[in-house]
């Protein structure tokens, strides 16, 4: 790993590690937002009917046109060796690409069954890429529940893209922002970086897989999302400098996140203040309305997207929310240290999950708000415990100054609603 990682890691709050039944999505669910972001891609899951069923129901999303994802469902004859998986996959891919001339990058996405039968999709991808003769690039990554939890699918996908990124000319520097962001949020950040004189700035994943930004030792990387463990390692190995900062949620998060880039570009404090004071002030003001609703409320995060710690930090420090429990499926210390430094002492951090025990704690403590997956939300509401669907946090633009109030509103809405209802 690169030397930009802080040598002395700060004190870590006590972490409770739990194991048991995990109530989380697998990495395949990332496809739901990844395919929306990358317009010229297709995601072909090589898996079972369960994978196909998960994709269409887990995210609660239906796409009215033919979507840019599908599943090649393994069948008895594939497993029994009657059919050759590689030949079968060739047929499926050819049928698919014949239908969709607009596809430039095809991702073969590994699943639990494809991993257990040790189907080497990277090899298949290489073979198919050369067969396509430059028309379509075929890449592979794993979204299996054996390897990935929910948002880690995006990490794996971006990691698969990295070898495609060119090296910069020597002396060339750039800023790479990592993590799917809504187009409108990218535009906002672009304006801020522009005003700060930071650039060129590139966003990965982007809408177009034909023009990749360069990556090398002149590249500084800012993480817009906290789940890029695998990608971070690969970036460091290519000599990129990983900027360490809290994530750009809320005013404080966005300020310190931008500051990390400003420091790398030698932006003066005065210039930084001049550019950010306006939007930061506006965001702070618009948060006030929701701070009123949220202050003093008690919240529990069940583990899901790895966004839990940064969001808990935002809610606690900027909205006055009391943190009962912050669960995370996986704690990446390198990425999370700047966030952990900002959490109140003694907060109960839980890594991993035993869902039944966790729900026992929720039932006993009766938080004012529980952030959880879709499967658990209604059963908790039925107990009179307001919830926030965690999946909305990966679909909704929540990054940056202009979305700070929107982010707070997502948490305030269930509380306002339960106050309003007289039934």
């Amino acid at each position: 790993m690169s030397g930009t990682i802080p040598a002395s890691v700060g004190a870590l709050p006590e972490i409770l590690r739990e194991s048991g039944q995990c109530e989380v999505f697998c990495g395949l669910s990332s496809i739901v937002w990844l395919h929306r972001k990358m317009h010229d891609t297709f995601f072909l899951v090589v898996g079972s009917r369960t994978c196909a069923h998960l994709l269409q129901s887990a995210a609660g999303v239906m796409i009215f046109a033919e979507p840019r994802f599908a599943t090649a469902i393994l069948q008895e004859r594939d497993l029994a060796g009657i059919a050759d998986c590689h030949d079968e996959l060739d047929l499926v891919v050819n049928r698919l690409l014949a239908r969709r001339a607009d596809i430039r990058t095809l991702f073969l996405v590994g699943s639990c069954p494809s991993e257990v039968i040790k189907l080497d999709l990277h090899k298949v991808a290489e073979r198919l890429t050369s067969a396509q003769q430059g028309r379509v690039k075929v890449l592979a990554f794993s979204g299996s529940g054996l390897e990935t939890t929910f948002t880690q699918g995006e990490d794996q996908c971006v990691a698969a893209l990295l070898p495609e990124l060119p090296r910069p000319r020597s002396g060339e520097r750039n800023l790479l922002v990592l993590g799917t962001l809504a187009d409108v949020v990218e535009d906002q950040f672009n304006r801020l970086f522009d005003a700060l004189g930071i650039g060129p700035v590139h966003f990965i994943p982007g809408t177009d897989t034909q023009s990749f930004p360069p990556i090398g030792d002149g590249t500084n990387v800012l993480f817009a999302q906290p789940f890029f463990n695998e990608t971070a390692g690969l970036l460091a190995a290519r000599g990129a400098h990983l900027l360490s900062a809290p994530f750009p949620f809320g005013v404080e998060g966005t300020l310190t996140w931008l500051k990390a880039a400003a420091r790398a570009w030698g932006v003066t404090d005065a210039q930084f203040e001049g550019v950010t004071a306006g939007p930061a002030g506006r965001a702070h003001g618009s948060l006030a309305r929701y701070r009123e609703v949220l202050a003093g409320r008690r919240i529990t995060f069940l583990p899901d997207s790895q966004l839990e710690i940064p969001l808990a930090r935002f809610l606690h420090r900027e909205c006055g929310v009391e943190l009962l429990e912050v669960g995370t499926p996986y704690l990446d210390r390198r990425a999370m240290q700047p966030e952990l430094d900002l959490l109140p002492p003694g907060v109960r951090l839980v890594e991993g999950q035993d869902v039944d025990r966790q729900l026992d704690r929720v039932a006993a403590e009766r938080p004012d708000l529980t952030v959880c997956g879709l499967g658990l939300a209604n059963p908790l509401e039925a107990l009179g415990l307001p919830t926030k669907w965690s999946i909305e946090l990966v679909f909704t633009p929540i990054h940056g100054f202009e979305q700070a109030a929107d982010l707070a509103e997502l948490f305030a809405r269930p509380l306002i609603r339960s106050q309003r209802l007289k039934v």
Binding site: S48, S57, F64, L89
Partner: protein, 539 residues
């Protein structure tokens, strides 16, 4: 390998979960990797379930594969029993676990739990959800009733008439499940219907039944197999082992409800004439009243589970006066029955679980109404055709708060309303000329309403479940987003003539004319082409 865009059915273990979630005091343990817990939200979101479905998962990960996944399963089985104390435990494997060959069911059976453990062999790579539900229900019933099966040579069971002398006959309602289409209300309606002819319900299963209830199945005089996808295997076994007769008619639609009562009458000797006469169906009069005339010969395409598809075809043809132009099912287990019905209507049944194949057929048939599942709703929306959902898989808006059965007399009223409403625009057909060119009645006057469809790139649109749920009705006026660009051009006169057609049928007229022109290699659409096409597609 099978290329799948959308799947009608989930994998077989979803069927097993549906049985567990339908019953009381039953818990299911699934050997499955992390991520398979997504199944919970089908119940808590689509059906707004207030409880998590009674299922526990091993949720193994890569690091567990290196150790002992069998041990993990045993731990989960023991913890699950200790926590939930069910009266019966189902143990099965999801697809990936099947590959590990830990023999989850057998392993759990060997653990000497104080309750029955039913091992499930779910064949994840060849079977699907409804088969999984049917198999699980059958295994549960067989396990509980095995000891009650009369030994060979026992005295034959008395006929239903003999058994019921001097008392009301009793029936089991078999097949209703969680996530089944309108099962919640069908059960109430059928119980009411039976009560009206003097038959009591012994029990409903699997929906709401406990293992203790299942043990009472043989006490009933006969079984009603309401959803053959789930209960045919079980009711056939009960017929073989307990000589308990099965009423096979499924009371969806007026004539089918009459058949259902008729079959019970034959079996029990009960005179159902009064019930038939008093039948609270408004469908016959609504269908005969003059303003239903416009329904005559409407072209309907039907695709769903076999039970609902077969019923829909009969209702359309006999009770609404539609023309069935397409009939199909994804229920391969009942393909034969659907083929026979299709043949009766002079068409060939489409038996497939390939959504793209169904879409191609619907597009090719040019129906005026699509009756189908959630999938067909999407197809119809894209093609701009009115649609009603008649079967699973369905979406949250197909689980209405109001009482909305499909079965029995009230079911016929619900069906009349929900199938005819999407066509209501046609009601004004005789008023079109009057309103033509009316200042308030043109395409720019369309109110986009409160629905929000998130427009993405290209022709894709996303909506979220629950929140801004799918608003399919809203799109019926929108032109379909076809992939292929039009290869024909419109002459200015033809374009002007097209504008004279009311906006809500204009899109269809345009599509039909273009299709007509393309098929005949016509480069320029003239007024003549427009009317040639109208004549071609008209009835």
């Amino acid at each position: 390998m099978q290329l799948t865009v959308w799947t009608y059915e989930g994998p077989p273990h979803i069927g097993a979960i549906r049985i567990a979630a339908s019953m009381r005091a039953v818990h299911c343990v699934l050997h499955a990797p992390q991520g398979d817990t997504y199944a919970d939200l089908l119940f808590t979101m689509i059906e707004r379930g207030e409880h998590r479905p009674p299922v526990s998962y091993t949720t193994f990960k890569a690091r567990d594969l290196g150790t002992d996944t069998a041990e993990l399963l045993k731990t989960r089985v023991r913890e699950t029993y200790d926590r939930f104390k069910p009266d019966l435990l189902l143990v099965g494997e999801a697809c990936t676990a099947e590959l590990l060959q830990d023999q989850a069911g057998t392993l759990a059976e060997s653990m000497d739990l104080p309750v029955p453990v039913v091992p499930l062999e779910l064949s994840a790579f060849s079977r699907q959800e409804n088969w999984g539900a049917s198999e699980t229900f059958y295994q549960v019933v067989r396990r509980i009733l095995q000891q009650q099966v009369p030994p060979p040579g026992s005295a034959p069971r008395a006929s239903v008439r003999e058994r019921c002398a001097g008392r009301r006959p009793t029936a089991n309602l078999l097949g209703p499940t969680s996530l089944g289409f309108r099962c919640r209300d069908d059960v109430v309606e059928v119980a009411r219907l039976l009560d009206s002819i003097g038959v009591d319900v012994n029990l409903v299963a699997p929906l709401g039944a406990s293992p203790v209830d299942i043990a009472r199945i043989p006490q009933a005089d006969f079984n009603c197999c309401l959803y053959p996808e789930v209960s045919l295997a079980t009711s056939s076994w009960l017929e073989r082992m307990f000589k308990q007769p099965t009423v096979k008619a499924i009371p969806i639609g007026l004539n089918a409800t009459r058949d259902f009562l008729g079959e019970i009458s034959t079996l029990t000797g009960i005179d159902v004439g009064t019930a038939l006469a008093a039948g609270a169906s408004r469908l016959p009069w609504y269908s005969r009243s003059v303003d239903s005339t416009y329904l005559t010969g409407k072209r309907v395409s039907i695709f769903a589970d076999a039970t609902h598809a077969i019923a829909a075809a009969r209702i359309c043809a006999e009770e609404l006066g539609f023309k069935v132009v397409g009939l199909g099912t994804y229920s391969r287990e009942l393909a034969r029955e659907v083929r026979a019905v299709a043949a009766h209507y002079g068409i060939e049944a489409l038996i497939t679980d390939d959504y793209l194949e169904v879409e191609t057929q619907v597009a090719g048939l040019h129906p005026e109404l699509v009756l189908g599942t959630q999938m067909e709703r999407h197809i119809a929306k894209r093609l701009g055709i009115p649609c009603a959902v008649i079967g699973a898989p369905h979406h949250i808006q197909d689980c209405p708060a109001r009482y909305a059965p499909q079965m029995g007399f009230e079911g016929t009223n619900v069906i009349f309303d929900t199938w005819v409403h999407p066509l209501m625009m046609g009601l004004e057909e005789h008023l079109l000329t009057m309103f033509r060119g009316d200042f308030e009645f043109h395409d720019e006057a369309q109110d986009s309403g409160q629905w929000t469809v998130v427009s993405g790139q290209g022709n894709e649109q996303v909506t979220m479940s629950g929140g801004q749920a799918d608003q399919s009705a809203a799109a019926s006026n929108q032109p379909a987003t076809d992939h292929q660009p039009p290869t024909t051009a419109w002459s200015p006169e033809a374009e002007r003539e097209l504008k004279k057609i009311p906006f809500f049928v204009r899109g269809k007229a345009r599509r039909n004319t273009e299709l007509f022109a393309t098929e005949r290699g016509i480069q320029m659409i003239t007024v003549e082409t427009l009317y040639d096409a109208k004549a071609h597609f008209g009835r």
